[in-house]
């Protein structure tokens, strides 16, 4: 399956869903700062990798997928749940990229300009995440071909 950027999917998201994510994102960012102030940067830093986006996005994926099937006359809650499970698989792969983001910042920040370090870390997060996703897709693509040949 090809990677697509579907702008119409943004219109399916309701205003209160955007507001909820904005509020939750803001609250987590403030909480991460307050925890670092209270308990120090070593403990507070853990919360920089808090799953701030994932719970809301997985819920929306399930909801939108179920609604789409319902509009097509198909009553099947499993489809929505499976789409959310796929979203979780992607998030697990992305978390490896997130660890690389942390490693890059940790090593570069004391030596480089802060802005440049952030850009380098963000680029590495994207590259590692894309690479892992592509590798996983190639691996499972091959497995499907083998299964197809054997049956």
């Amino acid at each position: 399956m090809r990677i697509k950027f579907d702008v119409s999917a943004l219109r399916r998201t309701r205003w209160y869903e955007y507001a909820l994510r904005f509020f939750f994102g803001g609250a987590v960012t403030v909480a991460a700062g307050l925890i670092a102030k209270a308990y120090g940067p070593v403990f507070g830093g853990l919360f920089l990798a808090f799953p701030a986006i994932f719970p809301a996005s997985a819920t929306l994926v399930q909801k939108h997928e179920t609604e789409k099937k319902r509009k097509a006359g198909i009553i099947d809650n499993n489809r929505g749940r499976k789409a959310a499970a796929l979203d979780a698989r992607g998030a697990a792969l992305g978390s490896v990229g997130l660890a690389c983001f942390g490693i890059t910042l940790w090593r570069l920040l004391p030596r480089w300009n802060a802005g440049l370090s952030l850009v380098a870390a963000l680029a590495l997060w994207l590259v590692i995440s894309l690479l892992l996703w592509q590798l996983r897709r190639m691996h499972f693509g091959k497995q499907r071909v083998v299964h197809g040949a054997s049956t």
């Binding site: 990677i3 697509k4 950027f5 702008v7 999917a9 955007y18 509020f23 994102g25 987590v28 960012t29 403030v30 991460a32 700062g33 670092a36 940067p41 070593v42 507070g44 830093g45 853990l46 919360f47 920089l48 990798a49 808090f50 799953p51 701030a52 986006i53 719970p55 809301a56 996005s57 997985a58 819920t59 994926v61 399930q62 499976k82 499970a85 796929l86 979203d87 698989r89 992607g90 998030a91 697990a92 792969l93 992305g94 978390s95 490896v96 997130l98 660890a99 983001f101 942390g102 490693i103 940790w106 920040l109 004391p110 802060a114 802005g115 952030l118 870390a121 963000l122 997060w125 995440s129």
Partner: protein
Amino acid sequence: MQIAFRFFVGGLVVSFFAAIGDALKPKSFAGLFGAAPSVALATIGMTVVTDGKAYAALEARSMIVGACAFFIYGCLCMRLMAKRQMGATAVTVSALAIWLACAVGGWFVFLR
């Protein structure tokens, strides 16, 4: 004032990455953006300005442990939704306790 600014920037960055994830297909690819470094991007810049680069680098080192906890959290959510037929909201919210336990456990073992 600083808290309000942090709240606004955090909300904006998280919403931005979430919107990218919404528009992307296939869903396994869009999921990558569920683990985007949104909180870190919103926080690190301000931390460098207020507390310095050494302080921010320490936070980034701890973030590696938080990301490992995220990996366990993501795998668990995937497993529960795919195999146990549990709803996304219940799974992703209740499994945050697992993320917290793994992150604090990792901090206790490796960073304390």
